[in-house]
Symmetry: C2
Subunit: 204 residues, 2 copies
């Protein structure tokens, strides 16, 4: 086993450290976040930080980094208070990854040939090629002062999902929808269900 | 396609809604969080909310729910300012899931027959059966007032990992370490790498 302490982590070559630390949390969700600015220019950015915050009210969060290519996402969410989360699937992961390039004066939708889709009069663009799409309204932006990132929390306003991917009790069968996972900064994985386990009881 | 709006989501049967909303973020990391109280009684709880917050300093977060079986985890982290994150692997996912049962007066380590391991004089217990283990010190607890949850941010103090699972540039090969993913509340998945993509450039 390799042991790294905090001093050794700090002294790692920058790219090595970035790869290592970005892999530490385990498998991550792969999502495209769609936004528009007030002039209607769309933006699309891949995020691996979406997490469940609560079911009632239905809340999800993403982490926004400072001065990065996702800066427009944050600005658009502040301006319009709307965004979409679209699951990356096996057919679009290369285009999804390409949204992380530094584009200016062109929408990542156009640059990557993904299609903005406006549904149910929701103001932010969904990704037509995604199978699971979520429309959210901004609920809160929480600054994380430790490293100048921001936690963006959205309230789920719309869920759009293939009927056949919803199991009898509401659980989504992500594999049937083609949803994939990320590790580190750049590695994409398909999955295979091992087992769905029953609610755990203690028998005390 | 099935479309749910916010009113329809709110009116879903509670268990159905919980399953649906817990599936929305996509695949989630599967981690066991190890803690001790000031008397040395250990606690172990499964979390699917660990995310990367930053690489320099190395920061990770988990979301703690109020009045849940993970309440002891939060109390112990506040008391000792130390916790561990241990990747769930294919050999221990049933025991990992079982830590979500409501135990009192017994450590989840004992209840599930996972083994607390104290390494490098770090104060919180690692999970011996895990292959990737991270020791963290409490950096900040951020209250999320919207639903009374808390974001617990830890600074990475130790990384313990099989040498052969680290690629030449620092990326962890999670599959070689047996790490698995979660969907929803209760479903475990192994993964298969599709592709590692190069850093995206815009060629503008």
């Amino acid at each position: 086993m390799q042991h790294f302490n905090n001093q050794q982590i700090q002294e790692l070559e920058k790219r090595y450290r970035t790869n290592l630390i970005n892999s530490l949390s385990g498998f991550k969700s792969a999502n495209l976040v769609g936004t528009s600015n007030n002039e209607g220019l769309t933006n699309l950015a891949i995020f691996s930080s979406a997490v469940h915050i609560g079911a009632a009210p239905p809340l999800m969060s993403i982490i926004s980094r400072p001065d990065s290519v996702t800066r427009h996402t944050l600005e658009n969410i502040i301006a319009t208070e709307k965004f979409t989360i679209n699951h990356v699937n096996v057919d679009i992961y290369k285009q999804a990854h390409q949204t992380s390039a530094r584009y200016q004066n062109i929408s990542e939708f156009d640059a990557t040939q993904l299609t903005p889709e406006f549904l149910n009069d929701f103001e932010a663009p969904f990704v037509k090629e995604a199978n699971i799409k979520i429309g959210l309204s901004l609920a809160e932006i929480i600054p994380i002062k430790l490293n100048n990132t921001k936690m963006i929390i959205g309230k789920v306003e719309w869920i759009i999902i293939p009927k056949e991917s919803i199991e009898h009790d509401g659980k989504i069968n992500l594999e049937s929808a083609g949803t994939i996972a990320i590790s580190g900064l750049d590695t994409y994985h398909k999955t295979q269900q091992i087992e769905r386990l029953p609610y755990a009881k203690s028998y005390q």
